[in-house]
Amino acid sequence: MSAARVGVVTFPGTLDDQDAARAVRLVGAQAVPLWHADRDLKGVDAVFLPGGFSYGDYLRCGAISRFAPLMEEIVPAAKAGLPVIGTCNGFQILCEAHLLPGALTRNASLHYVCRDQRLRVEQTATAWTNTFAAGQEIVLPVKHGEGRYVADADTLAALEAGDHVVVRYLGGNPNGSLNDIAGIRNEAGNVVGLMPHPEHAVEELVGAPSTDGLGFFTSILKNLVNA
């Protein structure tokens, strides 16, 4: 079969798009650049919303990107089952677009934090984590100023009851996230958002001292092959 095509979105102010595209290529998939102003998903098999400061994070992180023309294509496609992942700013955008519940607010420390973070993979029944073992401990970098996941009590209870928490912080919560939540999924498991950065933990030579991020990219390949 031809290589799986993963769209990588660039908004004005997106920063980790080249990094995400490189990680996609590392596992043998094709990275397809998607431009915020185009109403065109170019027939991709999955979408990666990378980190950054889209629109300068002015107003609220992700609040403006949500209204980008490309998002008008992504939202219905995601609801129809297209695998979509958002990391960091991408997670914030997915929450602002109501593809995932809750919101990301200012870190409890009030400081931006960049560190190599231990995590536990809680859920493998998603398009993006199916090559991990349930409960597997991994290390990915976090780097954000607004990564504190919050939601009302009912939403939080529903997330936990429905096994929608995908990754949880271990060994110290970097931002004061409720229930140590680092990432969540939607009901169908095709949409995942997380604050840590898998794309910065895919090569021995550079980035975090871990290659645990590769699992997210091999997962989407496996998901697409099996689909």
Binding site: F53, Y55, D57, H200
Partner: protein
């Protein structure tokens, strides 16, 4: 009423506020002589900022010349001093451009914005060379760590760098944070940026070709930073400095990120003839410098400059230091393509003028000519001062007050922990964890590694593959320079050079930021003269040319100047980035080897500072031959794969280097000393490094050292959970870590 050229000619005796703009009477007289009349207000604005110390280097020029006259022959140097930044050939068709620049005074007045716009400014310098900026680092100095004002300045500066740099998507890969009471009221914020470009794609600040269009693009022009260049950067602070707050510029990193991507697309489309960033002195500087280096003339209609505040007067437009602006010279046929790329990135762009061959820079406002000057007279022919200098009155007494009289400690274990927990040697994670070190995925080494290192093959999408990488380090020790500015500047270079070499990269080129007090004080000027002479001599000895840099004078409060602080950045290249040497002990069972000789050298040392608050005597000897031999061994050993880990010896000596090496991966070590234990552990002799070598590689490594006459001492082995110094003491690595990591959070929360 507009002060036009015609009006100026008709009212020759009208008094002009040159003194308020920081201009001296004789300088003003020279302007009148050049123009053959009094300057208009707009012309005075241009000359006053372009002839300010900050823009004209009028006090430093005669000394900086040595960097050129004494420059070592280097085939690597593609663009030297005088452009926005130097460019170095790093092989395989690639070039790196890098520069360090100060933003000291604004960072004291408004720490967050001052530091943020310092990053923004240096990044635009790098962009204007045609390069993609790929990393930043910062060399910071603050007053005493427990001083009240440090708690205001440091968090603001760190947050400013963090916010601006992170938002730009540039990894912050290194730098320094140093505390000393001398910097209270005069913090130093020196920002470095490095960029990457193909060798044949260098852009220069020039405006050739009559008929070509002058385009201003990026942010609109507002009232921020007006007079910043002359008032802020060139005048000594007194108590009223709080009143200068509006003179600090406000940064918008989002616009700068768009500018970066926009510029790179403009370069790729080949629609830029010449380009200049707008920094200090804004439109004045960009127009005069572009015109002076091009065909020689330019017309500008100032009414066309897009304004954020429509009430701005032409003089204010000329002096505004609004951030995130660039000026390009574009062929008329390319204007549509240029504008289309800018529109794609939502970057406003406006044609404001045209290149001419008249030799005059002519600007109009409301249809009247308000500027008509030969641009070179503002850009290049500013005043040059041979400032008087003499050795400070107390220098001999300072040098005579050696640390010999200081009581040596009985408890060496406690001394190590005291040093390791002192603000200068403690972990800087509180600072560096606020910086994104991973973005762009090319970071091979970052703080607390001895130098930052980046792979280059993937730094630009679609680039030809290469195994090469670049390494960068900055260093500077104000206490050493206070004791002996000549040696102090050499030691700063030696340390940065060594920090690059210990990671396996060959040092290639130098940038510097020279932070001093007032040049009008002959004693400060002596420090400056000695430091530049020392640095130029050392660059020659080590074969690394200065490619550019920056001078920051007037770092003083009242008559008290900071310690002279030359900060030196060294860029190196490693042929195969996969062979980089990580910092510290990475595994058990490795031989711990000390390279270089240790002498009893405690003048200006961290021990004297922490244990006795003493500064006197002479700094360690700068032995440049030994430095060069050491670097040769380190680079060759890395190439052959003989080194598993390394660490440079500097502040705090061997004891601190051992502790930091253990902390890198939590691997202990057991070592034995052979000389006087206190000197062996805490002396700060230069030209030394610690390396970890596999036992089976030791003989080959020792032979390499012998061939280059680098002294090589086997101290012991790595392993265990403690740092053991035989017959003296043992400290668990966990205790080292607690001490090392607790200090800054305790101070700054």
């Amino acid at each position: 009423m507009t002060d036009s050229v015609q009006r100026a000619a008709e009212t020759p005796d009208e008094p002009m506020p040159f003194a308020e703009l920081g201009m001296k009477q004789d300088e003003y007289d020279r302007v009148k002589e050049i123009l053959g009349r009094r300057p208009t207000g707009a012309e005075l604005a241009i000359y006053s900022v372009m002839w300010s110390e900050h823009c004209s280097y009028k006090s430093s020029k005669v000394h900086l010349k040595q960097f050129a006259t004494k420059a070592p022959k280097s085939e690597a140097l593609l663009v030297g001093m005088g452009e926005n930044a130097g460019v170095v050939d790093i092989g395989d068709g690639w070039a790196a451009t890098f520069k360090i620049e100060s933003h000291n005074h604004p960072s004291y007045v408004e720490p967050h914005q001052g530091a943020a716009t310092g990053v923004g400014g240096i990044v635009r310098d790098i962009m204007s060379m045609g390069a993609r900026p790929i990393a930043v680092m910062d060399s910071l100095r603050f007053g005493a760590a427990d001083a009240v004002d440090t708690r205001r300045v440091l968090p603001g500066v760190v947050e400013g760098i963090s916010h601006y740099g992170n938002c730009l998507g540039l990894p912050n890969i290194g730098g320094e944070v140093v505390f000393d009471p001398c910097y209270i009221g005069n913090p130093l914020v020196n920002a470095l940026c490095v960029g990457l470009l193909r060798k044949d794609q260098i852009k220069l600040a020039t405006a050739p070709g009559p008929g070509n269009k002058v385009v201003l693009f990026g942010a609109s022009t507002g009232p921020d930073g007006i007079g910043g260049a002359s008032v802020l950067a060139s005048a000594t602070f007194e108590d009223e400095s709080q009143a200068k707050r509006p003179a600090v510029q406000v940064g918008d990193p989002f616009m700068e990120k768009l500018l970066i991507e926009c510029c790179l697309e403009l370069y790729a489309a080949d629609v830029v003839v010449g380009i200049q960033d707008l920094g200090a002195a804004g439109v004045s500087c960009a127009t005069t410098e572009l015109a002076a280096k091009g065909t020689g003339g330019m017309t500008v209609d100032l009414n066309l400059v897009p304004l954020r505040d429509p009430s701005l007067r032409p003089e204010e437009i000329l002096m505004s230091e609004s951030q995130e602006r660039m000026m390009a010279v574009v062929r008329p046929d390319d204007i549509p393509a240029f504008m289309e790329i800018c529109a794609r990135w939502d970057v406003p762009a406006t044609v404001i003028g045209e290149v001419t061959d008249t030799g005059r820079l002519v600007m109009t406002w409301d249809g009247e000519v308000i500027v008509d000057i030969p641009p070179g007279t503002a850009a290049d022919e500013g005043p040059v001062y041979e400032r008087p200098f003499h050795e400070p009155a107390g220098q001999a007494a300072l040098n005579a007050d050696t640390p010999d009289r200081l009581e040596r400690p009985a408890d060496l274990r406690a001394t190590l922990l005291k040093l390791l927990g002192s603000p200068n040697l403690a972990s800087k994670e509180w600072v560096t964890s606020q910086y994104d070190r991973y973005v762009r995925s090319n970071t091979v080494l970052a703080q607390p590694a001895d130098s930052g290192m980046l792979r280059i093959s993937e730094a630009i999408a679609g680039a030809e593959p290469t195994t090469r990488g670049i390494a960068l380090a900055t260093d500077g020790n104000g206490r050493y320079a206070k004791l002996d500015p000549y040696a102090g500047a050499q030691l700063a270079l030696a340390e940065a050079y060594r920090n690059v070499a210990v990671t396996g990269a060959k040092p290639l080129a130098v940038t510097n930021c020279l932070n001093f007090g007032s040049p009008e004080d002959p004693e400060v000027m002596w420090q400056f003269a000695e430091a530049t002479r020392g640095l130029a001599d050392a660059c020659k000895a080590l074969g690394v040319p200065v490619t550019g840099g920056n001078v920051s004078f007037y770092n003083q409060t009242g008559s008290t100047a900071i310690n002279p602080t030359p900060v030196v950045g060294v860029l190196g290249v490693i042929d195969d980035v996969a062979k980089r040497v990580p910092t510290g002990f990475v595994a058990e069972g490795l031989r711990v080897v000390l390279l270089g000789d240790t002498h009893e050298e405690f003048g200006g040392s961290e021990w004297a500072h922490v244990a006795h608050r003493h500064l006197g005597g002479l700094p360690p000897q700068a032995d440049l031959e030994a430095e060069q031999a050491l670097a040769t061994v380190l680079v060759e050993a890395a190439r052959r794969g003989l080194l598993e880990g390394s660490h440079d010896l500097s502040d705090g000596g061997l004891a601190v280097a051992l502790a930091e090496s253990c902390l890198a991966r939590g691997v202990g070590a057991s070592v034995e000393l052979c000389g006087d234990a206190f000197t062996d552990l805490f002396s700060e002799s230069a030209a030394r490094a610690l390396v970890a070598v596999r036992p089976e590689a030791y003989d080959e490594f020792a032979a390499l050292c012998a061939r280059h006459e680098v002294p090589c001492y086997g101290l012991g082995v790595t392993g265990g959970t403690s740092l053991v110094v035989k017959d003296l003491f043992e400290v668990p690595v966990e205790e080292l870590r607690e001490t090392h990591s607790a200090a800054l959070p305790a101070l700054f929360g």
